[in-house]
Symmetry: C2
Subunit: 401 residues, 2 copies
C-alpha cells in the first residue's frame, strides 16, 4: 500500500506568503526532525526549508510536500539535488522525494509512518509556542505494550502515556483517554508527529488538565484469515471507500471494546468506568471514535472528533437524522446531554472543502438537533498535525471535570 495510490485530498496548500522575515543565508539550521548529524533538511526563521539529496544519475528529482505542489529540484555538479521552498506554516509537514518517478524518503530525515509508508517530515517551529515542546516540567512515560486480541488472534502493539506521578502516587487511579491516529498512520503518530506526551506533560504541569492515562492503539484490524482492507486505494467519500473503512472499523471496534479496554483496565491503575473513559481521534481516528463511542455509551462519556467524525455523514455529504442515525442516540437531546459529558468537534480553517464542509455540516446538524457540543476551529491550519496538536490542547483540559 503506497501513499501514491491514495486518493484522499489531504492536500491543502501549506505554503504561505504572509510570513515575512528577511532571509539570511546563515539563518538556516538543521531541522529538529533530522537524523543524528544530518545537515539537511535545513529550516530558516521564515519557515523556508532547504532540501538536499544525492542522486548523481537521476534525470529529475522533485520535492513532494504532501500538502503542497511538487517542486522541481536542481542538480548540482557534485551529484546533489537541492531546493529551497517558500515559507511553510509552522508545524509538522510530511514529505517525500520523487526520484525519476520513485516516491521515496529523504535519508536525512527521521522516518515517520504516514500515508501507509515510512515518510519524511520536517518540523517548522511556531514562534512563541512551547505547549508541544519538551519543557522543564515533570515528564510522563510512554510505554510500549503488547496485548493479545481474541478478535484478531494476534498480538497487538499500543503506546500508553502514563502521567508523571504514576509511579510514585501508588494509590492513585486515573481516567483514560483513548487517542487514535489517522488513516495511513499508526500508534506512533501521536507521540512522534503530534508530541502528545509533551502536550499532556505541559498541561498537567500547569494544572490545566487532570492527570490521565492516554492509550494510543494501532487502528487497523482484521479478523483471522481476512485480507488487508485497501480502503486508502479508493476515492475518498466513495461508497466503496466508506464500506471498506467501515468493514475494518467494525473489527477495530470489537478489538477496542473486547480486548484493548479490558487489557488496559487490568494492567494499569485506571478508573474503569464510563465516567472516566474518553475517546478521540484524528481523521479516520475521529470516524472510528464516533462509531465506537456512540455504539458503546456504556463504556464512554467523552467524545472527540479531530478533523474527522461521523464517516458517511461528514465525507459523503449526508445529513444527520437524529431520530435514526447512530441508533438514535441524538433523538433526545436532554438524555444525550445527561449521558455524554463532552462531544467535541474540531477542524482547521484551511482544511480541504470536503473535510471542512463535512464538519461544518455535522456541527450545524447537531445544533439543529439541540445536541450540545464544542466546535473548535484551528486558525490557518489544514488537515495536518498542527491542527491536531491544537485540538488536543483544547480537548484534554475539558475531560474528567
Amino acid at each position: 500500500m503506497s501513499r501514491a495510490t491514495m486518493k484522499w485530498p489531504w492536500l491543502a496548500i501549506v505554503f504561505v506568503g504572509g510570513v515575512c522575515s528577511a532571509q539570511t543565508p546563515g539563518d538556516f539550521r538543521p531541522a529538529s526532525t533530522n537524523v543524528w548529524g544530518a545537515q539537511y533538511p535545513r529550516v530558516d526563521g521564515a519557515g523556508r526549508v532547504e532540501i538536499r539529496v544525492k542522486a548523481p544519475d537521476a534525470s529529475a528529482v522533485k520535492l513532494n510536500f504532501w500538502s503542497g505542489p511538487k517542486i522541481n529540484m536542481a542538480k548540482r555538479s557534485d551529484g546533489f539535488w537541492t531546493v529551497t521552498t517558500p515559507p511553510l506554516v509552522p508545524g509538522f509537514h510530511y514529505y517525500t522525494l520523487l526520484i525519476d518517478g520513485a516516491e521515496v524518503s529523504d535519508p536525512g530525515s527521521q522516518g515517520f509512518f504516514g500515508g501507509g509508508r515510512q515518510a519524511s517530515g520536517v518540523e517548522i517551529p511556531e514562534p512563541g509556542s512551547t505547549y508541544y515542546s519538551i519543557e522543564n516540567v515533570p515528564h510522563g512515560q510512554v510505554r510500549g505494550v503488547w496485548y493479545h486480541s481474541s478478535v484478531t488472534e494476534t498480538w497487538r502493539h499500543a503506546l500508553v502515556y502514563l502521567p508523571p506521578a504514576y509511579d510514585t502516587a501508588l494509590a492513585a487511579r486515573y481516567p483514560v483517554l483513548y487517542l487514535q491516529h489517522g488513516a495511513g498512520e499508526d500508534e506512533t503518530g501521536w507521540v512522534r508527529q503530534g508530541h502528545a506526551d509533551f502536550i499532556l506533560d505541559n498541561l498537567i504541569a500547569a494544572g490545566a488538565c487532570k492527570p490521565m492515562i492516554v492509550v494510543m492503539a494501532y487502528g487497523y484490524a482484521r479478523r483471522p484469515g481476512q485480507r488487508p482492507v485497501d480502503f486508502m486505494g479508493k476515492p475518498l467519500g466513495s461508497p466503496e471507500a466508506l464500506k471498506a473503512m467501515q468493514d475494518m472499523e467494525s473489527v477495530f471496534e470489537d478489538d477496542v471494546t473486547q480486548a484493548l479496554i479490558p487489557y488496559i483496565d487490568r494492567t494499569f491503575r485506571t478508573l474503569p468506568d464510563r465516567n472516566h473513559r474518553a475517546m478521540a481521534g484524528l481523521s479516520m481516528g475521529g470516524m472510528q471514535t464516533f462509531q465506537i463511542t456512540l455504539d458503546h455509551l456504556d463504556l464512554f462519556s467523552y467524545i472527540g472528533g479531530f478533523s474527522g467524525a461521523g464517516g458517511m455523514l461528514v465525507l459523503a455529504g449526508g445529513k444527520l437524522d437524529p431520530r435514526t442515525d447512530y441508533n438514535g442516540v441524538f433523538a433526545d437531546p436532554a438524555a444525550f446531554a445527561k449521558r455524554v459529558h463532552l462531544l467535541w468537534l474540531g477542524v482547521g480553517t484551511a482544511e480541504p472543502p470536503i473535510m471542512r464542509n463535512g464538519l461544518l455540516r455535522l456541527h450545524t446538524s447537531l445544533d439543529a438537533a439541540h445536541i450540545g457540543h464544542v466546535f473548535y476551529q484551528s486558525p490557518g491550519t489544514a488537515h495536518e498535525w498542527q491542527t491536531w496538536r491544537r485540538d488536543l490542547k483544547d480537548f484534554a483540559p475539558r475531560l474528567f471535570r
Copy 2:
C-alpha cells in the same frame, strides 16, 4: 551523515548457497518487517527475498543488502522494478535501494534506524527459533523516558525495559543491564531490530535469567557547542576514526555515569550498586562498554562486548598490555576476578576479518594475562543482528547470579 559514506566493513556475505528447499511461487509471503498491507518485500521458505519498487522513469535500480553485493533489479512494463535474491541467512538484514544513484529506503518496509539513516530491513525467519519471537508468556513493557543531562545540556531519550512483574511486585527491586546499540543505530535498535524485549520475556518466563531492568540509551553525545563528530566518515581502524569515536565516547561516558545512571536509579526500583549493574553493547556499543565499565568498576561488575570491545585493541591490531591498558585493571588477575563477576566477549564466525581477528586477539590476550572471561562464537553469522540476539540470549542468563 549517510551510510553511503561509511567505510566500515560490515560487509560479510549473507547470501548462502547451502540452504536448500524447493522454490515454489506460492511459497512467498509478505515479510514480517513490512508496513501494514504491503505485499512486498516477500520472503519464501528458503530465505529468498523478492523486492518490488515503483520507479517508472529510472534507468537503473539496484538492491543493496548491506551485507552482500548490490544486485541489479529488472524493469517491468508497468514501471515496477523487481528482483529475487538468493537465500539469505535467517535474521534481520538491512537494505536500501539505489535508484539512479540515490540510496533510499523501500516504501514497503518499515523504517529501521541504521547506518546513520532510516533504512529498510527484512526479517528472514529462523526455522525452529522462538527465543526472539513474541510468545504466549508474560510481557514486560518498554518505556520511553526523557532525562535531562547536565553533560550535554539537552533532554535525552532512552528506552527502558521493565520485567513483567514490575508493576505488581511493588516491593521488588531489580538489577540493571545497560545495553547499547551500534554505530549508526540508536536507542530503538535493540527493541526494533534485536527484539531484546521478547528475548528477555522468554528467558524470564523460562526461569533462565533473573528479572532485570534493561536500559537502552542513545549512544551519541556532544558537549554544548561541540560539533557533531563524523567518526563514521573515516576509515575503520584509522587513528582519525578512533580518535573521533573516543572523543564522543568520553562525552557519552560522562552522560552515562553522571546523568543516566542517577536518573534510572531515582526513577525505577533498581538495586543501585555495582553488584547489580551490568553493561553490554554491540560493535561501537561494545567499545563504549569497555571504556565506560573499565573506567568505572566502582559502578559496574558485569561487562559484555558483542562484536566490539576495546576500541583500538580490537580494530587497530594492538595487543593488550595488561600492566598499563585500561588503567591496569588487568594487571592482577585475582583482583580482577574478585571485582568483575563477568567479562563476556562474542563474535560471529562469519564476521569480517578485522572484527573477527580483533576479538580473537583480545580473547587470546586475556587468556595470556590469565583474565577469566567467556568467549562466545555465533556459528555462521556475520556482523549482524542475529549474532547479537544470540549474544544477549547467552549473556543475560549469566548476570546477577
